[in-house]
Amino acid sequence: MRRLNLGTAVAGGLVVGYLAWYLAHHFLQTDKASTSDQVTLITSAGWALGFLIGIGAFHGPLTWLSGRDQSHEDETFLAGKGQGVGRYFRFTTDHKVVGIQYLVITMVLLAVGGTLAMMIRTNLITPHSGFLSPQTYNSVVGLHGLTMILATIIMVTGPFGNFIVPLMIGARDMAFPRLNALSLWLLVALVPVLFSAAFMGGIPTGWSGYAPLSDQAPPGMDAYLMAIILFALSSAIAGANITTTILTMRARGMTWNRTPIFVWGVMASVGLAIPAFPMFMSSMVLLGVDRTVGGQFYVASGGGNPWLYSNLFWLMGHPEVYVIVLPAVVALMELTPVFSRKPLFNYNAAVLGIVGIVGLSIMVWAHHMYASGWAPALNGPFMLTTELISIPTGVIFLVILGTMWRGRIWTTLPMMATYAMLWNFIIGGVTGIYVSDVPADYALHGSMFVTAHFHYTLMGAGLTGAIGALAYWFPKMTGRMLERGPGLVSFWLVQIGFNVTFLGMFAVGLAGQPRRVVHYDPAFGVGNTVSSIGAYVIGLGMLVLLYAVVVSWRHGEVAPANPWGAKTLEWTVPNPIPLENFEVLPVVVADPYGYGEGDVPGLVPAPGVPVPREPQPAEVGATGDGPDPLAAAGGPLTGDDASQGTGRELQ
């Protein structure tokens, strides 16, 4: 176990993948058309299996089976104690290592997806540019979509949900550290599988992979469906892990109405993912059956139906939108009080807003299918549920505006992201009400208008929120400040480029340009050229951001433990953060938003507990003792003393 790392994982993946390929090649009938699909699927499954063996993912379960539990030394090793940079390349269980690994993977995926976006926009810069062939173009569109969907799903709950949430709730690690590492390495295993699709005919179906087009697609589609199956496993495990951590490991005294709002947002996001992605996985399993052994699930002549696919897909697909947007927007909600120096406005409404969005989001999937004709009688009810979402979403805006109201706005990079989100998300939301309207959607569905709309939500709100979160937590995660100069340049390039790109795209969509077309009517020329220029500006801005992150990480100004003067727990631990975060677990007596309410400390000494010998950071008083089951269990969950510190209504 101790010698395993990314190198052995890749070696294992290659060996088992090759073995699987060899066996599949020799034992399957070669006369059938679906053989190459079977070979692709078996090979990629072999790769994933070998990769996980090579990284040591099965070591724990097998020793458990044999009756030998891991020794304390094993666990300390797994946590990455004293391994320097090497721990980032191992099956390391420390949530901070996993958080950084997620951050790097997110950036890699965003870079690849962004490059693909540049290719799309280059192709569309003139009506018939001929830059990409139709075959390549369709694949690039599909790969861009899926890569970005995966990147944006993990971009907040991966890096910050893993790194920050345990610190924020006063825990020493995640509930299931080994499952945490497993979810991360499953993700790493699927990335090569996904991109191998590009070399096997691509995925010329768009990321939505609508059947039966996906039934007739080349073997790249098998890589696609295998990647999604692995992703569904990874996200179900990560979701169960993060949710359990939040449910059971909040610090003593951190009742539900003292829990930082970001924790709510992350829990809502991963909680939604738990039922959503298995549905996606099932749609892919059925697709795999169709493709490899001639199943009839989506084949009309065999009694199958393409509407089955679209229902399963959107049952996942709409909750997934909130899986992406919620934690990003809520991260901005978390940092708005810090940079307005005022308590979060109407905490209860904020929580209800999040819960309302989660609840409604599982009842709106068929608004993606108004025009599919699968159930025209249901279009009215789905219009109702869709438009109802505007109410809890409005509450999120109210909370942010109320927090800014008469605050002292400190316009740091994270706070600028909040402003950008307020601009972008309003546009994304208002264009959302057009397409929620059934007749208007008949006119706009499948056009560039829809593409622009969801980029305004997923990118304008989601990615902007993630960048804000990165700027906000960068000092805690890396111990250095994010350089303000390049940060600002990148912010303006990305935001201006973004609005230029997608306002142009709205225009061509309204004028009637369909989505996912390799060339288009010259009448749409101007809007597309504008859009492409905007896209290059975004690309430039993202490169500057990458530069800012890399340079700051290596040479940035060393950050104090609490550079923003924030009151949540993650800022009470020193930089660099010790292996288990808190030598003694904190006890929480108020919510973390008591700005301007006198020197009410968020943390006080627990009665009758000796002050530890090592001095703690000033913000922490003395606290509970080390292995304190009560504190680790989250203390009283129902909030017997919950009324202090919250619910005050001051004018």
Partner: protein, 255 residues
């Protein structure tokens, strides 16, 4: 505990506060600008060729106007906070005072306004759905539409064996399209008439419209359907009734 002042007095004091006046001013200007902008989307959509498209275009305008005050309010508060409440310095500012946790009237007003808007959107949408689906009442012309990679085929079952790869429609007569596909999912979209329905293999879907303008318009495929998806377009010719009759006869049908 001080006795609360009468509502009228409080409201007057409130409305004299500088931030209230400032935000109101910005809000009014932005709302006016957005209302002016509200006519832009429907202009970009181009001239309508059916009552359905007219309904869609007015929906775009009405929804923009309905959303304008809300969007303007959000941006007004954001803008004002940047202009007046901004802290310039390198370190964290002092905490803001008074430290406000919540405000019931503000929350209540916000919820009521967003609920009223939501109900309005819903009622408008339902009424609009009703009006666009009523069009097929009288003696509609039936057209069978078949999508296949990557062409559209139109046939006219009541007119005999007329088949065409371009769509011919008589003006001002309701049309019902029965749409299906031979291979993968396509989406039948008559751009200037504002109608769209997927062509699904194995199933038949319907949509209807009454073209009310002579001329040629575009049919495009709105669902990615493979290699030549971008080329899966054709033309709609909306002609007068006699021209339509002669076109049918020329193509071997009967009227």
């Amino acid at each position: 505990m001080t006795t609360p002042q009468p509502f009228g007095v409080r409201a007057r004091l409130w409305s004299r506060r500088p931030e209230v006046r400032g935000i109101f001013l910005i809000w009014a200007v932005l709302t006016a600008l957005l209302c002016a902008f509200a006519f832009v989307p429907s202009r970009i959509m181009g001239p309508a060729a059916s009552p359905t498209m007219d309904a869609v275009k007015s929906t775009m305008t009405v929804f923009t106007i309905a959303a304008a005050p809300v969007a303007a309010f959000v941006w007004a508060v954001a803008l004002y906070s940047l202009l007046r409440w901004r802290h310039r310095g390198s370190g964290p500012p002092e905490d803001a005072r008074p430290s406000m946790r919540s405000n019931r009237p503000a929350t209540a007003v916000w919820l009521v306004v967003s609920s009223v808007l939501c109900v309005f959107l819903l009622v408008w949408g339902l009424a609009e759905m009703q009006s666009v689906s009523r069009a097929s009442a009288a003696q509609p012309l039936v057209v069978d539409v078949t999508g296949q990679q990557w062409v559209w085929t139109f046939s006219y079952p009541a007119q005999g064996k007329v088949e065409s790869d371009q769509l011919y429609l008589p003006v001002n007569r309701p049309v019902v399209f029965h749409v299906t596909s031979n291979d993968v999912i396509h989406s039948f979209w008559v751009v200037q008439m504002g109608i769209k329905v997927d062509a699904n293999p194995g199933m038949t879907t319907t949509t209807n419209v009454t073209p009310n303008k002579l001329g040629t318009f575009d049919v495009r495929c709105a669902e990615l359907c493979g290699l030549l998806h971008a080329d899966m377009e054709t033309t709609v010719h909306v002609v007068d009734a006699s021209a339509f009759r002669s076109w049918v006869v020329e193509n071997g049908g009967h009227v």
